[in-house]
Symmetry: C2
Subunit: 300 residues, 2 copies
């Protein structure tokens, strides 16, 4: 039977492997390692990179934390607090902000949660936020995710793709964060799945991350760009900040439950800008991108 220690150890190795692959592809930036402990139990290793050739700011975080299950978790699951189960949670969380506006921002999170009452599940997601949507890149991204999903279950990609459209959405802008990806939560041993089979899916996704992003790093970082395009990147990073601080459940949960702020907010960009009521010019590339930040687009 798959234990939480095996899952944790796999995540530790995943963090290491992703950092190595990203450093190799970047050629300059090096991850620093910042281990931390959680007073209630457990801790993590935050690894951050900055000022690379391609990556301007990013983080690849591992954590494994445990202790008394926070009230908000119990509430959200309708579990009576008087049962006071303990929890264990482990995962890897990544956000990368590139210098070049032609290289997309990427995010992935894979995680496992269990409680001493026997409940457990896997969750996670990955989504791509191009400053300029390139349809070919979007197709490559979604095709890769579909292949990963299809290895495990035909329902995964369509279901998790829709979930991502709904999740990575700025309700106050009526705008998706980017071109979506996949999102999933509460993956348990239901409908014929086993813990092992769920974990195999998580492993496939985790292992696919670095090659997938390295593809975009290599393909796009040599593309030229204008000051205007750089300005647009800053505005899109502003939207990224809005999503993470207003809507992202993980961020809100972390900040509400006294999580490690600097690790949670490593997802924020190196800088962002806001211009009142900015409207891209009619027919511009910026306007075309906005037109593709919609739910329900079939990229493949």
């Amino acid at each position: 039977m798959l234990t939480k220690e095996e899952i944790r150890d796999w995540f530790v190795a995943l963090q290491e492997s992703i950092c190595t692959q990203l450093e190799d592809a970047d050629g300059k930036g090096k991850f620093i390692s910042d281990p931390w402990q959680r007073s209630g139990g457990g801790g993590g290793i935050t690894r951050v990179i900055g000022d690379g050739n391609i990556i301007e700011k990013g983080g690849v975080n591992f954590s494994a934390v445990w202790g008394k299950t926070p009230e908000p978790v119990l509430k959200s699951m309708n579990i009576d607090a008087s049962d006071h189960p303990d929890f264990f949670a482990t995962g890897v969380s990544i956000v990368l902000h590139p210098f070049n506006p032609m290289v997309p921002i990427i995010h992935m999170n894979v995680r496992y949660f269990e409680m001493t009452n026997g409940t457990w599940w896997f969750g996670g997601g990955i989504d791509l936020t191009p400053h300029y949507v390139n349809v070919e890149d979007a197709r490559h991204f979604h095709s890769t995710l579909k292949s990963v999903c299809d290895q495990h279950h035909p329902s995964y990609y369509p279901e998790f793709k829709n979930w991502a459209d709904d999740y990575f959405f700025l309700k106050h802008r009526k705008e998706t964060r980017g071109i979506g990806g996949i999102f999933f939560d509460y993956l348990k041993d239901t409908s014929g799945f086993t813990k092992e089979s769920r974990f195999e899916f998580i492993k496939s996704l985790g292992s696919a991350f670095a090659p997938l992003y390295v593809h975009f790093m290599k393909k796009n970082h040599g593309l030229s760009y204008t000051e205007q395009e750089k300005h647009w990147q800053y505005l899109r990073r502003g939207r990224y900040v809005e999503f993470n601080l207003v809507w992202d459940r993980g961020t809100k949960f972390g900040l509400d439950t006294d999580g490690r702020t600097e690790s949670i907010l490593m997802s924020l960009p190196p800088q962002a800008q806001w211009v009142y009521n900015y409207q891209p010019a009619a027919g511009s590339e910026e306007e075309k991108t906005l037109g593709m930040l919609k739910k329900g687009i079939t990229w493949i």
Copy 2:
């Protein structure tokens, strides 16, 4: 008896008066006027300024909206939704971001709310966010607010000052947004107060705003600053973004209830930066400022 129309009209005049005084003091920036309508009833006039001599980005917003009371408001007040009272809300909301890091960011909000079930109240607040805390400036700010409060009730300043310390607080940073100010809500005709006397207080505060901020504009905008100090300003603006998007109730409520996003988010700075785990040098001015971003400091 004071009517909602009289209150609204006073806020309209306040917006105009504040914009005029700020333009005069800035000497270059001009407010543009952006009127908008709310589909459920009412609307507002968003006035934004940018690229002035002193003010880099800011807004002075007026709104008067009405219609079916949003569910979250009813819930927060324990009012049965089946009573379905209508609401009316009007107010002025201001945030100003100066170029010079020696000039503080300022915020003020004054508002009136009533429902067709007869409930009404005033709310609001003002707080100052210096990038570098200057104790003399902080004393001037709080003394001015205390004088305004003391004209109306001796309990106002001490009570509302503490409320501001609690409200303008980044729980995830254990840091106040700035040097606080005053915050108040649900000011009704209780404990000997009348609607008229509450409104007189609101008027005093509203009228005090422009001269108070113009004082800091004139006093500090000529001060020289380094690139390092400009960088610190960007980091502090990052904190301002965090407060507004994570903790500010007005912002959250507006974004949740389909408010006018661009008017709500005019409070965001022109640009902001985030550096992983930034620690100011020991003994630096930046460190001194951080040391004063605490609740419970008696500035006067």
